[in-house]
């Protein structure tokens, strides 16, 4: 009896990949093997080396060691151009789109397949053809800057398909999407696999791994931590491999202890930087000892809401009452003096001065008062003592108050922000995307600190686009859509599906 077994083709075979950035080794000899016809998850915490590995495969970085084979052939990939020529396409986390150009122009850019003169009509027709084949809908003549993020991502996918890619790398593709958009993305990804494409899905979200992938490679700290078949594993096994230890459970919420409003917003309206209406008729109350989560897809007014409370943005109407006084038109300094702390959404540009030391960052906003300064002259000793104390108290690593903040990891940078903001015993904390870009360990730390403040009787206004975070921490959840609060739910009533519908603007369906 003879049987011919088709040779099992490994489409991608990366072996012993090493990558160093200066003194730092990002990858210590990592292997990644991806077979044909599969959706392969590349899983790991932030900083585990996932993106570095994929940037090597895509030719953006050069490896310092190791081999790459594509479909059994040795491959040297020196640039994205090489990668594209070999059928590799990347859907970047930060979209690589050019906002003022049209969808069709973005799709064909760099590979226009045209004479020197472009015909817009022909371009649009070509893109439309591609859309029909892969069941992806988006208007070829629309300007990219006018599209919501979910559609912009489709443009990224079209770009890659247009170039005839056989391997599509998705770099954390769900970070900016609503739950419904995520489902639509998964449908597209499955269609791609069924059409014979291979997909590598970079993520740190376990739910997505189980929803859409076939096999999993786990990285931890620049090394392989495991290769798994999705059907034969469990979330806890993967989480253990990612983190290298068992996860602690975030402490269960105790019932609200204190009471009384610490923040009352009535009829708040404001404009965005571009002058468009950003907030309309916002009514919202945060009580002492309560975390109010504000959910929503980024760009629906959450940032403007936080800025209005802090006095960073001038409301056009309405009141913001803290401690009995309307502070809607106060500046940030006066607002902060009423016991308001602020953890801004971008710690690198708003939360910290990266070029300053840890100790100096700890006193930002407090530099003009004793003990840190007298009559306009800074007191170095007091600043250093304060820095050492807070660095220790907030577990900043390395525990060196003289370290430059730019050199700390994201998690430790956030600890510096928290140390500065929480050490003053605020009555209200406004936090925006507090764990964006942080690994699991740092996320746990931030959550615990926020819950600690809540237990102390502080009110917390938590703006986050991570539903897991909102649901893990909030006592009540308000959902924003297009500048309005479309609903406020008790945490127990806020199912993921319901929140997703509200975030996408389907209030009737969600509350039916």
């Amino acid at each position: 009896m003879t049987s011919t077994v088709a040779p099992h083709v490994e489409l991608v075979e990366m072996r012993g990949i090493v990558k160093r950035f200066g003194d730092f080794t990002a990858l210590h000899g990592v292997d990644l093997v991806v077979a044909e016809h599969e959706i392969h998850a590349l899983l790991g915490e932030n900083g585990a080396g996932k993106s570095t590995l994929m940037n090597i495969l895509y030719g953006l970085y050069r490896p310092d060691g190791g081999t790459i084979r594509l479909a059994g052939q040795d491959a040297a990939i020196h640039s994205p151009r090489d990668a594209i020529a070999r059928g590799i396409g990347m859907i970047h986390q930060h979209f690589m789109l050019i906002p003022p150009l049209t969808v069709a122009e973005n799709v064909v850019l760099g590979d226009e397949r045209s004479g020197p003169v472009l015909s817009r009509h022909a371009l649009a027709a070509r893109v439309r053809e591609l859309e029909e084949r892969f069941h992806i809908g988006v208007d070829p003549d629309a300007k990219v800057e006018d599209l919501p993020l979910g559609l912009q991502q489709r443009v990224e996918i079209l770009k890659v398909l247009y170039r005839g890619s056989e391997l599509l790398i998705f770099d954390e593709p769900t970070a900016v999407l609503t739950p419904q958009e995520v489902d639509e993305l998964f449908t597209i990804v499955r269609t791609l696999r069924d059409e014979g494409k291979v997909v590598i899905f970079i993520t740190h979200k376990l739910r997505e791994v189980f929803a859409v992938t076939d096999r999993i490679t786990v990285l931890r700290a620049g090394r392989n931590a495991g290769e798994l078949v999705t059907k034969a594993t469990s979330p806890s096994e993967i989480a253990r491999l990612m983190v290298g230890r068992e996860l602690r459970q975030v402490q269960a919420r105790t019932p609200v202890t204190a009471s009384g409003a610490v923040l009352e917003i009535r009829g708040l309206e404001a404009r965005s930087d571009r002058g468009a209406t950003a907030l309309q008729g916002i009514d919202l109350t945060v009580n002492a000892g309560e975390i109010l989560g504000v959910a929503g897809v980024g760009g629906n007014g959450q940032s403007e809401l936080a800025e209005c409370v802090l006095g960073l943005r001038e409301p056009t109407a309405g009141s913001i009452v803290i401690g009995g006084a309307d502070i809607a038109h106060d500046d940030p300094k006066r607002t902060r003096e009423r016991g308001v702390a602020y953890v801004p959404e971008d710690r690198r540009t708003e939360g910290l001065v990266l070029a300053f030391t840890v100790a100096d960052n700890f006193i930002l906003g407090k530099q003009d008062r004793p003990p840190f300064s007298t009559r306009g002259v800074l007191d170095d000793d007091a600043i250093r003592t304060n820095g050492d104390r807070l660095a220790k108290e907030f577990d900043v690593r390395p525990p060196n108050a003289r370290a430059i903040v730019a050199n700390l990891s994201g998690g430790n940078q956030q600890k510096v922000v928290l140390g500065r903001e929480l050490s003053e015993r605020p009555t209200l904390i406004v936090v925006s995307q507090p764990t964006r870009g942080l690994d699991i360990g740092s996320t746990e730390y931030v959550w615990e600190r926020l819950l600690e403040q809540r237990a102390r009787g502080c009110g917390v206004l938590l703006v986050s686009s991570e539903l897991d975070e909102i649901r893990a921490l909030s006592d009540r959840i308000a959902v924003m859509f297009e500048g309005r609060l479309v609903a406020t739910l008790a945490a127990a009533d806020a199912t993921e599906e319901r929140l997703g519908l509200l975030m996408a603007g389907h209030a009737e369906a969600a509350l039916a």
Partner: protein, 315 residues
């Protein structure tokens, strides 16, 4: 004051003549800034174009060789800027300013060495006017454009060519992509540096054309610092014109008209009040400040304009 002084054919002709060098610099500005490189050394490129155009035309007794050398000089100066801005990722304003000072110093010094006692020769071959005989006798039009310099027409053709290539061709699409989001362009295999080099060099050539026109087409001589900030005014026209060739031309015409008025209204008066010509002469500069400050319509520069680009991972 008469209507003739405001909108007469001679004012129109002067407007074109005065707008052309500004427009050429502005076209250079559009080209380089659309690729993401700010090039204030356009003023310097213009000035070396003025000077070396005169020197070459004088030595070779041929105005076309003069024009070619003028362009070459402008391109070389722009090349220094491109190297500093693209390869060395230097601050583009500092590099541009340094090159402007270099251009002024170099041309002034060489002018003194070569023509210090006599001035540039009177028998300098010059860029010809285009005589449109068939327009002779056509009222207004004949006087306005019947006898304009070749470079004015060249400028007009270049405006159309650049407008079309920027928005209708593959090269233009790539140039704009590089100026908006160089990393995105690189990820689809576009060579960001090459496009930026080409754009900066082209901007030097365009500015030098403007310079050659000033010395070989208008003044028929060289005097120190004769560009008088027209390269900078060109950059203002570029902003005013929202980084498009046609818009830049329109803005240049407004500036040119302001200049033309301050000549034609010389000595004019409204009733008993003398028109303050000197004050009127400041009009283009006031417009410039308003344009740059964004008061005259909102204009958005290319998103990556002036930002050095570093290829990730290869450094």
């Amino acid at each position: 004051m008469t209507l003739e002084m405001l909108i007469g054919a001679s004012v129109f002709a002067a407007t074109l003549r005065l707008a052309a060098p500004i427009a050429l610099a502005a076209l250079g500005g559009v080209t380089t800034e659309r690729s993401g490189v700010t090039n204030i050394a356009l003023e310097g490129s213009m000035l070396v174009g003025c000077f070396f155009g005169v020197v070459a035309a004088d030595r070779a007794h041929n105005v076309w060789i003069g024009l070619a050398i003028a362009i070459l000089a402008g391109v070389l100066l722009a090349g220094l800027h491109a190297y500093a801005a693209i390869a060395l990722r230097a601050d583009q304003i500092v590099s541009g300013m340094a090159l402007n000072i270099l251009a002024l110093g170099l041309t002034t010094y060489l002018d003194y060495q070569m023509y210090g006692t006599t001035g540039t020769p009177a028998d300098l071959p010059v860029l010809p006017d285009v005589q449109l005989g068939f327009l002779k006798g056509v009222p207004y039009v004949g006087d306005a454009i019947g006898s304009q310099n070749l470079m004015v027409w060249t400028m007009g053709v270049l405006v159309v060519l650049l407008q079309l290539s920027l928005f209708r061709t593959v090269a233009g699409l790539r140039l704009r992509a590089v100026g908006e989001h160089p990393r995105a362009a690189e990820t689809v295999g576009i060579d960001v540096r090459r496009i930026r080099y080409a754009a900066v060099l082209a901007s030097g050539a365009l500015a030098a054309l403007g310079g050659a026109y000033l010395s070989l087409g208008v003044a028929h001589s060289f005097t120190d610092g004769m560009t008088g900030g027209r390269g900078f005014i060109g950059l203002a026209a570029m902003i005013f014109g929202r980084w498009t060739p046609v818009g830049a031309l329109a803005a240049s015409l407004i500036f040119g008209y302001g200049n033309a008025l301050s000549t034609s209204l010389q000595g004019a008066s409204i009733g008993d009040v003398k028109v303050p010509v000197q004050l009127l002469g400041t009009l283009p500069y006031i417009l410039t400040i308003l344009a740059v400050a964004g008061f005259v319509g909102r204009s958005r520069p290319p998103a990556a304009d002036g930002l050095p680009y570093e290829t990730e991972g290869h450094a």
